[in-house]
Symmetry: C2
Subunit: 341 residues, 2 copies
């Protein structure tokens, strides 16, 4: 069996330049009942799109954060995803093609993580779509409390809240809500969610073939971004209890939820952290949130917005209300999130 | 916030000696609707156990393979899991306590991966349970085609087929099948499944604090066990296409399914391999299985039987029939596998 290249790094790859496309083709092969991959337009689209009369949700961004976003395309969540190269914004043509592919006549909502490239390109695509008569609303996600402004961002970065927002707004769209209502719900999720991440290691983008940044032996980066953007500070590695404390304090102090508020606790792995550690961390965080006066009533534990094989974790806390909880519980069927269906 | 220790290695841990127990407590905190953790007996038990009149399924083994087995306790899969310390067999007392906790009067099936310690301890527990009047059947899982006999095993090792077997036998038990029928189905899954794993890195057990084995720069281990047991050989790292070829050839040549056989393809991450690579690998494997004359009609892609944060993947192919496919599709609700519920 002949192959074009032998990667120098140890990853399951053929030619590193083809990694994103080959992975998306594999996703579509595994989940052809849910989605299709349009290799020409470089988009992932819900299998039965466009759904007539349904508001459609489109998101996208650099690859390397899987399952975000392609793994969330399906019923009750995204209608399309636009994947860029690893840690690189997709281009407006992808976003426009996705918007046209999923528009069922009820409008399209763009879910945009706050990175300068994504924001600019989604804006151009929305203008082009409007010129073609498609109603487009844009929702910006900026839930990361670690730093104000960053390497690729003016203002706060968009991280874990994206997953929760795509689920909740997707449920609203599936239930027949109109584009104003879906947009308002999505903005409500962003407004009520806060996140903070910790990196224990770097990761190696396939095309680069070397670690994205250097994290010395025994140190962790507090407030890391999902592309390795610097956080608040580096510290000596400490216990799960102490790291949970840093995460909880950062998120809770910024969220300022009223005492007794019911929350969804999302403990997210960065890609290389095993489940044994994630659940241990969840236990610490759940306890500390309760000590801080909040009441975790829903949770999500797993690797849903990642940085390739980075070791690390992030915490997202979403202050729920009855409507958000009910939309969270609604059926969903995508490659990465599935229940009630 | 005071802590007992500061781990030398970079993992989310408090005292490494408490890692398994704290992680199980976190699992139970996150999923109290599905399961409870009995810290005295050191077992994870379905929340509504015992279910009167239902055959109960119990599995167990060393920890470090999460979500196996605790993450598969719930409705339509396992009734209890007995987790040992990391990569260490649980003791007979755990297995006996689990058996008694879930016995609903219809008998209990022990699902035992073929490692000498697990086999011996489950045998002792089954004898003790029988003495107490509980009907126990044991099913041995030995699907790994890599090597005959191994570091901790006489005969073949039990790996990925365990996940498929627990799902399918669990569905049969949930539907009301009797203990002979559930046992026969479980044995049928094992007889029709074959697996082969590849490691790209080692992993570091918390209590040891250093890598389990040494894998030189640029080399991979073909036929790795889930505790780092040696495989068939070490080779220079090659492409995903070539590694998929090794995995498919090993599995298909041993399975000897008839041309056109419908199969379930399970591409499993070892813990540290990101989803971008797993789906890329799935695409290669799906194509190569079709070239080999098989027809993948179901699949599972993700990290379900792991070796902590090891980079690597395994392939399990299960030759389906209508009954096995139907039981695979039946509703399941556990922390790690969920659909139709």
């Amino acid at each position: 069996m002949a192959t074009a290249t032998t990667p120098a790094m140890k990853k399951f790859l053929n030619d590193p330049a083809d990694a994103v496309r080959e992975s998306l083709a594999g996703l579509a092969a595994a989940h052809h009942d849910l989605l299709r991959y349009d290799a020409d337009a470089q988009i992932v689209v819900r299998a039965d799109a466009p759904v007539a009369g349904k508001v459609a949700l489109v998101s996208g961004g650099g690859s390397g954060h899987e399952p975000l976003h392609g793994g969330f395309v399906g019923r009750g969540m995204l209608d399309a995803a636009c994947p860029g190269e690893v840690f690189t914004s997709p281009v407006p043509d992808q976003m426009l093609a996705a918007t046209k592919a999923v528009d069922g006549g009820a409008g399209v909502v763009h879910i945009v993580k706050n990175y300068t490239g994504d924001v600019m390109n989604f804006k151009l695509a929305a203008e082009d779509a409007a010129d073609e008569g498609i109603t487009v609303e844009s929702v910006l996600v900026d839930d990361d409390v670690a730093v104000q402004d960053s390497l690729y961002t003016a203002g706060r970065r968009g991280v874990g809240a994206t997953v929760l927002l795509e689920k909740i707004a997707g449920a609203a769209a599936e239930s027949g809500d109109d584009v104003q209502r879906v947009t308002a719900l999505a903005r409500r999720v962003n407004a009520r969610a806060r996140s903070f991440g910790v990196a224990l290691s770097s990761c190696t983008p396939p095309a680069a073939g070397k670690p994205m940044f250097d994290l010395p032996e025994g140190e962790v980066e507090l407030g890391i971004g999902i592309h390795g953007e610097p956080g608040r500070r580096r510290e000596r590695m400490s216990s799960a209890r102490e790291l949970a404390g840093v995460m909880v304090e950062a998120v809770v102090s910024d969220l300022q939820a009223p005492p007794g508020a019911q929350v969804l606790t999302f403990v997210n792995g960065m890609g290389g952290t095993p489940q044994l550690e994630l659940y241990l961390l969840y236990g610490e965080i759940d306890r500390q949130l309760r000590e801080a006066g909040l009441e975790p009533v829903r949770n999500l534990v797993g690797s849903y917005i990642t940085s390739l094989e980075m070791a690390g974790a992030s915490l997202t806390v979403l202050e729920l209300d009855d409507e958000l909880a009910s939309l969270w519980d609604a059926p969903v069927h995508t490659p990465a999130l599935r229940w009630g269906a």
